[in-house]
Subunit: 143 residues, 3 copies
Amino acid sequence: MIIKLERIKLQTRKSEEAIDITAQVEDAVAKSGVRNGLGNVLTSHTSSGLLVTEGIPCLEEDILTHFSRLFPESEDYHHRRYLDYDGRLGFNADAHLKSVIGVISCTFPIENGKLVKGSRQTIYFMEYDGPLERIYFVQVLGE
Amino acid sequence: MIIKLERIKLQTRKSEEAIDITAQVEDAVAKSGVRNGLGNVLTSHTSSGLLVTEGIPCLEEDILTHFSRLFPESEDYHHRRYLDYDGRLGFNADAHLKSVIGVISCTFPIENGKLVKGSRQTIYFMEYDGPLERIYFVQVLGE
Amino acid sequence: MIIKLERIKLQTRKSEEAIDITAQVEDAVAKSGVRNGLGNVLTSHTSSGLLVTEGIPCLEEDILTHFSRLFPESEDYHHRRYLDYDGRLGFNADAHLKSVIGVISCTFPIENGKLVKGSRQTIYFMEYDGPLERIYFVQVLGE
């Protein structure tokens, strides 16, 4: 059995953005040497997401726009209070809620050394609270 | 280690519907010969979903109705524009958004040759943009 | 290959609550003897969830409050009718919908015998329809 874990760094540039990481995930699968198995992608942060949809800019905008419609920044959140452990006001409750409903991980099959997915499925790292340096995990397991 | 991947075809009949695929997934597990391990189910499309809930028609309707309440077809979506690569207007932004919040995959344990899940958990392929011929993946890994 | 499945019982105390199960999941990983592999956590119920976010009480409240804003108990649900098989009125459509959008499982890498996750990622069992005795699965697979 081959088991490989990669921690991949990512510098986001905006407060909110959808970053296509499909090539990086496919590269991690290729480097692992696994021919058949599973690949799991997971963000390591609670104000970001890991989401699979069609890879087109208008949809990226729609997801960010409509997540903000569901969870407006200006809502009255319990998290908007002084946080001792952070030494500042909690201002990103909307980012955490978007992370929760937009999902934080996905598992794909691997076959003949390649990630198996639909032709239109693009893997996105979702930044809801940037810009920040982010890390996501790609774990590959198989033989 | 046994690793088996099945691509299962499905013809959907309506613009939106919830199709119980529990028996097909359990059959793929049985055929794999895996006694203990994991099974992962994943749709291959970005306007469909893979969702687990109680298997009753009234709930299927509630999910479709309330997903449409959150993402009405008539909203003003960026995706509603001419798409060069498709040669047509993007008309299904709501379907993509439903796919994202309703989830596209689930991983279950396998024990003694059987998928482990709660007695009321039913596995659904969710069509948000049909009718279409669809494919979903069932990957089984274990020994 | 080591494959271990634990069914963990949990008595919830409120109609809705977020219960931190990170220590229980980490304990199941430690007991499994797996050094490197994957861990999958899954609720066995359709009116509960399994969700990962920052472990602070104000966020727990925000998630429960805003899920209830999206799916109010007083909405007109198809599920609110007499259910023969239950011998009672279906009253928890909102709980099922929260379960669906808040996710029911998550898969994490395991490395050097430990679950790999971000420093602020807390694993929650989400009760949307309690108080009840609940069971969730922790499956560990690796070597």
